[in-house]
């Protein structure tokens, strides 16, 4: 159920273990512990109530305190793993980023799509995203591009019409809508 992909490629082959994994954990968990500590302090300012013993801050404080403790415990455990392991081969981080280049590109495109959504409106933004996304993921031949155009039209203009006229739900119209 957890997706164990830290040191595996999508095809499943295991890469040489290095310090990258433990280091990433240490950095993430220390950052999270610091964030939750700050939120814990902030939660103390939440008002109490004369009608109930707990108030609005007690439950979040309880959860945040446990989160700080757990993140520090994970960071400590991973720091020990970091010290135990020998440094990996040079350029592993670069190779990892290169291996995930398509995922990062899709993520960047998705972020641009979402940011552009209120301005361009659902139809236009989705049309552009679907065309660019399919092209990015390999639709380069004439046949694949023709299919990409049909798919993009159906899932942008088609879906927008369906929602507006059948379900009476208005998706974002944008500046041109």
């Amino acid at each position: 159920m957890s997706q164990s992909t830290t040191d595996r490629s999508p095809s499943g082959e295991r890469h040489a273990p290095g310090r990258g994994g433990p280091l990433a954990h240490v950095l993430l968990n220390i950052a999270l512990a610091a964030l939750f500590t700050a939120l814990f302090v902030r939660a103390q300012a939440l008002p109490s109530s004369m009608w109930e013993p707990l108030g609005s801050g007690s439950f979040p404080r309880l959860v945040l305190a446990a989160l700080v403790a757990l993140n520090l415990a994970i960071a400590f455990k991973e720091a020990r793993a970091f010290l135990r392991q020998s440094p990996g081969e040079r350029g592993q981080v670069g190779a990892w980023i290169w291996r995930h280049r398509l995922a990062f590109a899709v993520l960047a495109l998705f972020a641009v799509y979402i940011i552009a959504l209120p301005w361009l409106g659902f139809s236009l933004a989705s049309l552009a995203f679907l065309l660019a996304g399919q092209w990015l993921l390999g639709a380069r031949s004439l046949k694949a591009l023709a299919i990409a155009v049909v798919v993009a039209l159906v899932f942008s203009l088609g879906v927008d019409t369906l929602f507006r006229d059948v379900f009476v739900i208005s998706l974002p119209r944008g500046l041109f809508g």
């Binding site: 997706q3 830290t6 993430l28 008002p47 439950f59 415990a73 291996r99 280049r101 390999g138 929602f163």
Partner: protein, 499 residues
Amino acid sequence: MMDALLSGMDQLFTLSTMIAMLLGVIAGVIASAIPGFTITMAIVLTLPLTFTMDPLQGVATMLAVYVGGYTGGLISAALLGIPGTPSSVATTFDAFPMARKGEPGRALALGIWASFFGALVSVVVLIIAAPPLALIAVKLGAWEYFSLIIFAMTVVASLVGKSMLKGLMTGLLGLFIATVGSDPMMGVARFTFDSDLLANGFPFLVVLIGIFAVSQLLSEVEDAEGVKHGKALMPDDVNFNPMAALKETLSYPVNLVRSSLVGVFIGAVPGAGGSIANLLAYDQAKRASKTPEAFGTGTPEGVIASESGNSATSGGGLIPMIALGIPGSAVDAVLMASLMVHGIGVGPRLIMDHGDLVYGMFMAMLVAALMVLVVCLFSMRWFLRVTEVPKSIIVPVVLVCCVIGAFALNNRVTDVYLLLGVGVFGYVLSKLDYPLAPLVLGVILGPIAETNLRRALMSDENWMLFFTRPISLGLLLLAALSIVLAVRHHRRAKRLQAA
């Protein structure tokens, strides 16, 4: 009773009602198969269409969408690894690995049969035990609710994967995420930083789509060369053998009945519902299994437990509504609204004043379960063709569906921004081997736990009431037992791994 049953059947078995139900089933299956679209959305969209129908026909159509929806969530859970609805989160644990191992047809067929039997068990329980079960369900006070949630939280132990610390961390993170936004009791803004983005908190559906869908879809495109050469989601040799799956499903009778009963009971508890039932049923099946280590790798037991558990909540949810007029979930509230539109008051007298309607609804559940079975068995070969679609098409299309689902929930663009943020965070967590299911469970259970804890202490500040009220004590003992067994199992698994 017999007169009411016959009268209900007479009203139900008309050509127009059967056609309306069939369309409802198809709509429910398709809507729930799309990531980001929930059963509640489908049923809300169906409501205006039933205004012109007679009461039983209208409710039967909505029940058809309801029952179809519980099965439809299986499709994207098994084929994409993305729960189509919150009630199919646990289905992703085994149906998706099974599909990835080249058996998507088996995963779907097992899920369809398990859903059918789950719905069947729930209808039988509904007919026999609706009034007494409803009375038990509404006797649960804030203390019992809180203890029930503590028991449900112990499910996290089954979902932690390899590291207990990481599982607990994501579970608690889910609890924290649920506290962002308005305080459920006082309405005070918490952790919103005066920002419009966080003012309404993190809607559960947005977290679910972001955590599962966005991170799963990004994982799908990591194999750059494969994707660019038109790689599909699954191997192209897809075998769909419903009869073999029926035999296999029936070879786990205890799992099937236990999971269905868990679903019925959780469905009958107002506010709990299918999103918890599938996880609890999965957890119980794993604990009772002779091969718990196989869970999460594509075992049929996991698929059967989750799907029978979530489908059984459809009948369970009707129990408090029919017996007491209390809607157990948002979907039940919409069903109640559809009856009220036709001038039928829903309450304890419903079964006495409109016995034919109530028995007609029971029969409609049964007919809907049968229709779902037939529709799914005949259409599943078409759905399986999704696995042949290249990733270059499926990934952008599903991402657009996720955006629609997140936006249509509350008509807020800020929810779409949250979807992006949660998706990126979920992807980072999955890359670092954190289990994501406990996070979703935390987001579901957090508000219920906090509200009931505070409500209990508001009624009486005595903490000992959690231990002196019999049902609450029973649930807490079950929770303690559950933790002890989980720790023992975790240690044994580690010893075996080391040996």
